[in-house]
């Protein structure tokens, strides 16, 4: 067990994967000499050389597409897209190529690649560097979507992603890189596709992932003082979605809140809520509540930025109102 950060845990996962598997290569902007825009790949160029830690020019469609071709040809590439906001530039390669190759070609070949990227607010990075776009990828069958919310998952979920046969969009949160936590690299990697109950409780189910996990846990702690026990579920992967854990909890509590940083309309919270409504209808005591990002671009002013996404205070308040 070590005490480390989200950032260092991610780097360690890459390092261990590269030590174990010579076909793992890293491709992306500033991943080598610079060490990664957020420092995740620091030191890997020195350890593994430029044949395996490949600095790309600013050509998102080109290098993500190259990763797709490399994954079809015997390598296991990790492409780093510096911000998830840039995925629009590479979206044809992600959504029309990587996601569909196995299906279109009748299962002959897959695309075992990980697209590491990061999103979210918290660094006053403004409208084109702060979005939570996981919902875009959920609309594309063939793509896996993983979002680590803890230091341990930064390591173990990335390791599990690197074992997948299909393309994984692995979305880190920029505000979590400095988060400290405990990591045991020797324990088994994340149970792929399974959510984790981070805090048990019988009164209300809070379904979330990524940084909102931290917020939900803080809110659960706040309401515990008022005798309200919130069960907090960390989904960890949106595709696959661990429905058993969600429905098991909601059928027990009868109340569900879905918390995402992604925008409200047409977003992941809408999909999860619709599913709870369809499948747990008989057990629901109250309406399902979505607490999601405002339907606005992210502003640079810190005071506005913080208000564009759910806050701990808001989650606390809503839990208390729902459980009377």
């Amino acid at each position: 067990m070590i005490e480390t950060t989200y950032r260092e845990a991610l780097g360690l996962a890459l390092r261990h994967a590269m030590m174990e598997d010579p076909t793992v290569v890293i491709i992306g902007e500033e991943v080598g000499a610079y060490g990664g825009a957020y420092g995740v790949t620091k030191g890997l160029l020195q350890e593994f050389g430029k044949e395996r830690v490949i600095d790309s020019p600013i050509s998102e469609a080109g290098f993500v597409g190259a990763a797709v071709g490399a994954a079809m040809s015997g390598l296991r590439p990790v492409a780093e897209l510096m911000y998830v906001d840039f995925s629009g530039i590479a979206m044809d390669q992600i959504a029309n190529q990587a996601a569909k190759i196995r299906y279109m070609f009748g299962g002959q070949m897959g695309v075992p690649m990980v697209l590491r990227t990061q999103g979210g607010t918290g660094r006053s990075a403004a409208a084109q560097h702060s979005q939570s776009l996981e919902g875009w990828f959920l609309q594309v069958p063939g793509l896996r979507v993983a979002l680590p919310g803890t230091v341990s998952d930064a390591y173990h979920l990335l390791r599990a992603s690197l074992r997948q046969a299909d393309p994984v969009v692995f979305i880190e949160h920029k505000a979590l890189y400095v988060q400290k936590g405990k990591l045991d690299p020797t324990q088994a990697d994340a149970n792929w596709g399974r959510a984790v109950v981070r805090r048990p409780g019988g009164h209300v189910t809070v379904v979330t992932y990524s940084r909102m996990l931290t917020y939900a846990l803080a809110a659960a702690e706040n309401v515990a003082g008022h005798g309200v026990e919130a069960e907090v579920i960390d989904l960890r992967t949106l595709n696959p979605l661990d429905w058993e854990t969600v429905s098991g909890s909601v059928t027990k509590t009868g109340r569900a809140i879905v918390v995402t940083e992604a925008c409200l309309t047409g977003g992941p919270a809408a999909e999860i809520s619709a599913r709870i409504q369809e499948e747990c209808f008989d057990f629901l005591e109250e309406p399902i509540v979505r607490i999601a990002g405002e339907d606005v671009p992210i502003p640079v002013a810190p005071a506005l930025e913080a208000r564009s996404v759910p806050t701990v205070a808001l989650i606390t308040e809503i839990i208390r109102k729902l459980v009377r």
């Binding site: 597409g65 071709g69 994954a71 997948q164 209808f281």
Partner: protein, 344 residues
């Protein structure tokens, strides 16, 4: 290349095979009464397909555009399985899931035809990268049409291939027309090979009616690519017919079409074989008859083949070891059985 008569006849045979395939493939849709709108023929582009693939070896790979039947046939595809795929049958190369525009075969190095203009180009950069990292002596070739010359991802790919010194060749099968837009309405400078040179690639242009000229330049460029010098080649030809099966190209003048259709690589090869090698009508007829029979069999095979089972709809979205998506009806039944409590 100074080919022997046998080699020249083989080159002719490969081109004739493509021509006959393309002349016959439309029958699938007529006889089955299915739409088949997405069928793009490569007639008169046979020299690009046969010439560029000539120096390719086992283990080499390629991607193609939507007009790629000929290239795949030139690399050794089985016309039975191709026709079955185009007809959407389970015995097709992709189990009837891909069709004409998404045909692929891993064993022959075909990393996929693509229906997004330029979409398959960066994959060869990745394949080339893997050959370099894994120290394999192979090349990867991207085939695309002149429409892709105006797509940004091509230039990203050219730059990466040159920068990383990858075993990659970019081949533009320039048939002058991107759907209903002629190249001079798509680009101010249509000397496309000049663009490639500015990226540090070897850039060349060759007459696509002269298959032996295509072979010559392809042999040089493919060998150069194996040595880490990425290259670009424009093969100049003319799209004989419409963009897709139902397009009669009303946007072109009869005069232009008549002039363009003089550029027939097969007629050119026949003339050369007769004049240089003394090939006889009987020799051509024997080759043509064998091909006609092969394509007859392919058409019948495809028409008689079974469609994929409906359960295949959910297969291969993810790896075999993963659960398949839940079918809609099954999900609805489950929800309604569990939750409809008011009336039943």
């Amino acid at each position: 290349m100074r080919p022997t008569k046998e080699q020249s006849l083989e080159v002719y045979r490969r081109m004739r095979r493509i021509r006959t395939f393309e002349e016959r493939v439309g029958e699938l849709f007529v006889r089955q009464q299915t739409a088949g709108s997405m069928l793009h023929l490569s007639i008169a582009e046979e020299a690009a397909a046969v010439g560029v693939t000539y120096p390719m070896r086992e283990g080499d790979s390629f991607t193609t555009h939507h007009r790629g039947h000929g290239i795949f046939l030139a690399r050794g595809a089985d016309p039975k399985r191709m026709m079955a795929e185009i007809a959407g049958k389970a015995d097709g190369y992709c189990r009837g899931k891909g069709g004409s525009m998404h045909i692929a075969d891993r064993t022959l190095g075909h990393l996929g035809a693509n229906a997004i203009v330029g979409g398959g180009i960066p994959a060869v950069v990745g394949a080339g990268l893997s050959y370099k990292v894994l120290a394999k002596p192979n090349v990867s070739i991207a085939f695309f049409g002149d429409g892709a010359m105006q797509q940004g991802v091509l230039y990203e790919s050219m730059n990466l291939a040159a920068l990383w010194r990858l075993p990659v060749v970019f081949v533009c099968v320039n048939n002058q027309w991107g759907m209903g837009t002629r190249i001079d309405r798509a680009a101010a400078n249509t000397q496309f090979h000049e663009r490639a040179r500015t990226f540090g690639l070897e850039g060349h242009v060759v007459d696509g009616a002269d298959v032996f000229a295509v072979i010559d330049i392809a042999e040089r460029l493919v060998q150069g690519a194996r040595d880490g010098r990425a290259a670009y080649l424009s093969v100049e030809c003319y799209r004989y017919y419409g963009h897709a099966r139902m397009d009669k190209s009303p946007y072109r003048t009869p005069e232009e079409e008549a002039e363009g259709r003089k550029q027939d690589p097969i007629q050119r090869a026949i003339t050369r074989l007769r004049e240089k090698d003394g090939a006889t009508t009987g020799e051509f007829e024997a080759i043509d008859a064998a091909i006609a029979q092969e394509m007859d069999e392919a058409v019948e095979f495809a028409i008689n083949a079974a469609p994929p089972p409906v359960t295949d709809l959910f297969r291969d979205v993810y790896d075999d070891h993963e659960p398949a998506p839940e079918p809609l009806r099954k999900r609805l039944e489950r929800i309604l059985t569990t939750n409809l409590t008011a009336t039943n």
